[in-house]
């Protein structure tokens, strides 16, 4: 069973080196992915994450536990990435229309003209064969940065919507719009992938 972040925090504070390595193993890779959605290159993302780990060590003493350890660490990361990054334009409103499904797939009355193709069983089969995860990782990188950030935190890291809003400093409504668009795009990519192999 995975040790809770709370137990890990106790060990960290008592100066346990292995606790720090466990924390890094748990969050380093998702932090790199998240950082990369803010900054222009993997090398810069790597730097931001390294800086974050040092900031985490320095800040441990003062961490009051008002948020979860993960939320605290990820917030430090996002703050640093935002200061460093130029890729993300925060001012872009999320209100631009971006339909979940191509409008051409509906008839004039708004009913399906080109209904969703079935792909769930095929995807499950390929996932179990270990041949889908890399594709999904590649698709994640195709999502617009802000959608990608929310999908990483909600659907891969399984944070709550409140935690995601705190980490990214966005409103609950924006969080939901970005999540909806990101998931809708991914669903379409699954459909496209398995339409091709028919």
């Amino acid at each position: 069973m995975m040790e809770s972040d709370g137990d890990l925090l106790l060990r960290l504070r008592s100066g346990d080196e292995r606790a720090f390595v466990t924390l890094v193993e748990r969050y380093h890779e998702p932090m790199l992915r998240l950082a990369l959605s803010f900054v222009p290159s993997p090398a810069v993302a790597e730097e931001v994450v390294q800086d974050t780990w040092l900031a985490v060590l320095r800040g441990l003493e003062g961490f009051e536990g008002r948020s979860s350890l993960q939320t605290w660490v990820f917030r430090i990361l996002v703050n640093r990435a935002r200061t460093t990054g130029t890729r993300e334009r925060r001012s872009v409103p999320v209100a631009d229309p971006e339909p979940a499904v191509d409008p051409a797939r509906f008839d004039a009355a708004g009913g399906w003209a080109d209904p969703p193709e079935r792909w769930i069983e095929a995807a499950e089969g390929r996932m179990e064969a270990g041949k889908l995860a890399d594709r999904i990782r590649a698709w994640m990188n195709e999502l617009p940065a802000r959608q990608r950030q929310v999908v990483i935190l909600r659907d891969i890291e399984e944070m709550s919507s409140e935690e995601v809003c705190a980490v990214l400093a966005i409103s609950d409504a924006n969080q939901r719009v970005l999540l909806h668009r990101g998931r809708s795009r991914l669903r379409q990519l699954f459909e496209d992938e398995f339409r091709e192999v028919r």
Binding site: G15, E17, F20, V21, V24, E25, R26, H28, E29, P30, Q50, W53, L54, L57, R58, P99, A100, V101, P103, F106, A109, G110, G111, W112, P115, P116, R118, W119, I120, A123, E124, M127, L132, A133, I136, R137, M140, V151, D155, I156, E158, S161, R176, L179, H180, R183, S184, L186, R187, F190, E191
Partner: protein
Amino acid sequence: MRLLRGRDLVCQQAVELVTAYLEGRLSRSARRRFEAHLAGCPHCTEYLAQMRETISLTGRLAPEDLSPQMRDEFVELYRRWKSEQQ
């Protein structure tokens, strides 16, 4: 096709409500209309199942393991920080 009543959803509207539905953020009346639409629409039922599957598949991406070299680098980082403390 079912006869549309004034407040019935069409498919194109239903697909935009999926996330709010899964998040439990629809009002009671909106949820009722959404579920009523699903009950009569196999395509939107399939669509909802595909959105759930999308979430499930994404959630199964395991973080890649740290390389032994990176592990060592972090042990090094920790020890350096520790020595600065004293």
